[in-house]
Every structure is written in C-alpha cells, then in structure tokens.
Subunit: 61 residues, 6 copies
C-alpha cells in the first residue's frame, strides 16, 4: 500500500518505464509520507484500438 | 470523467470496437447528462484462459 | 462477461443510474452481439477530492 | 458478483490457472456464503517490465 | 504480487472479511506456489444501487 | 491518457491529496514526455478492514 495502476498507450521504452517507476514512487512517498518500499506500481499498456475518447478509438484519430 | 473500463474476451473486430466506443459513449452521455467529450473508454481483451466463471476457466467450458 | 467498471463523480440520482445501467447494457449487447444477460456493470462514485485532472483536484477547479 | 481481478507476473501454466480458478472460487464461496456460480475471476498477466516495487521494475531486480 | 481486487455487495461482517482474506490468500499461494506474504487483497464494497446485471440495478431486483 | 488509479488507506488530509495530484501528475508527464493536461488520477480510499496483506486484514495488524 499504496497500490498504483497506470493505463498508458503502448510504445514506451524500458528507460521511460524505469523513470516512471522511480519518479511516481518518489512522488507518492513524499506526498503521503510513507516509505518508498510500500509503493507498488502496475502498468497496463493499451493498443490504440483499445482506448476511446469522445466516442472515437485512439487509432482513428 | 466518466472513465469506463470494459473487460471482454478477445476476438472482436475493429468495427465492433468502433461501435462499442460510439454507442457506450452516447449511452453514458445521455444517462448522466454530460458531454460525449468527457467520456474515456478502456477496453481490456482477455484470453480464454484468463477468465473463469463458477471455478472453471473459459477455455475449458 | 463483458464486465464494465464506470468511475463517476458522486451525486447522480437513482433514475440516472437506472438509465445508465439499461442504456450501457444495451449498447454493449448490440455492439458485441452478446446477450444483455451477460453484461455486469460496476459503478464507483468518487468524491470531488478523490479525482484529479491536470494535477488539480476536482474540488479545487 | 463477487467479481475478482488478479494481477500476476506472466509465466503460469494452464494447470496453475485452473487450480487458481477453482481454489479462489471455493475460498470466496465459503467465506461469503454465496454460490460458486456467482463468482467471476479475471486474471491479468503482467510482463516483468510492467510491474514495479520500491521504485524499481521487476525485471531489474 | 499477486494483487487481488474483489468487488462485493456491501454488508459483510468483519469475520467474513477475515475469512475471505485468509482463505483467498491461501488459495493463491497454493495455486501459484508463492509465499502468502506476497499476496495483497483489496476489497471494494458496492451499494446495491451501484451494481447492475442484465441492465437492472441490484436494488431493483 | 495516461489514467492513474491509486488505492490508499483512508485518512489523508486534503493537502496530502493536493500534493499527491500535483506531484504524481508531474512525475508522469516528465517520465513519458506527455502534457500534464493529459493525466487523470483516481484515488480510492480503503477502510482498514477492506485491505489485507499476508492473509491478515489491515485493521488486525
């Protein structure tokens, strides 16, 4: 605890994921005054035909 | 907002996803009296061995 | 299956939720060609201090 | 209802998933005194670069 | 890891939740051959007007 | 997009939530090189009897 789930469009590099894990963990630990070791992060990568905004698929925009 | 997450068994066509995005967005906007532009939809496709009902995997039914 | 999760800001009436359940179920059944009886919908109501956009809480906008 | 979502690192065998579906369903039905037929389980398999703990990706540990 | 999310209709006793936590954890550890200490469980209690099946709210059934 | 869901034990102040929204949004925008305006954050507060670790409810630890 806390447990974080992040949905993002696929196509990030390993280095971007590394930065995401490190920075989001730090941001949470600082804001909530909890140890970094308590933070878990799940990333879910979405294909552009599995996300829609305003009724339109991302791949059709 | 609103944010919608839909879990479905894999194997839908692009046209089915397009219809889903359009119709669900419209259904939400009408019901809640909010603009269609406010609606986000995440679809997650599950393999038949990643869903279970009544203690049995979908692929075993 | 399909299973739908909808996050929305709190404050909807029972009639709005009824309409939401009915219309979203119909929209999914039509789009994916599945029976309405297969559709489950979970609604989660968020307090305005539990949602943020652009780094700002909803209650501060 | 109840609806269960389980996030796990990828790499389980079909037999492990079968056991998971059966045992978790039984555990829930017994604890909550509900029929096994009411329990749905969604499994989501994560790649080791999509999970982080203590600010570090699983694949970097 | 694994991380479990369980949606259930509100109204369970503390003892039912205790049993749920213990039994589901054991079921997962046995099935996936992982330590019980690795299992996290989130329960989310739903009001009967926040769940729908077949297009009908639970509170209207 | 990205959409973030954070589960945390209840009892944070409004200022902690404000900091969380601001810092997590910044962390994501920097890591993924996306605008802060694209980031949505959902927080879900859990009662101590709705979270379990190692088979034990949080309220029993």
């Amino acid at each position: 605890m806390p447990i974080v789930q992040i949905e993002l469009i696929e196509g990030r590099t390993l280095d971007q994921k590394r930065a995401l894990a490190e920075k989001v963990t730090k941001a949470i630990a600082e804001s909530l005054d909890c140890p970094e070791s308590a933070v878990s992060i799940i990333m879910r990568e979405l294909k552009p035909d599995n996300f829609a905004k305003e009724g339109k698929l991302w791949c059709d925009k």
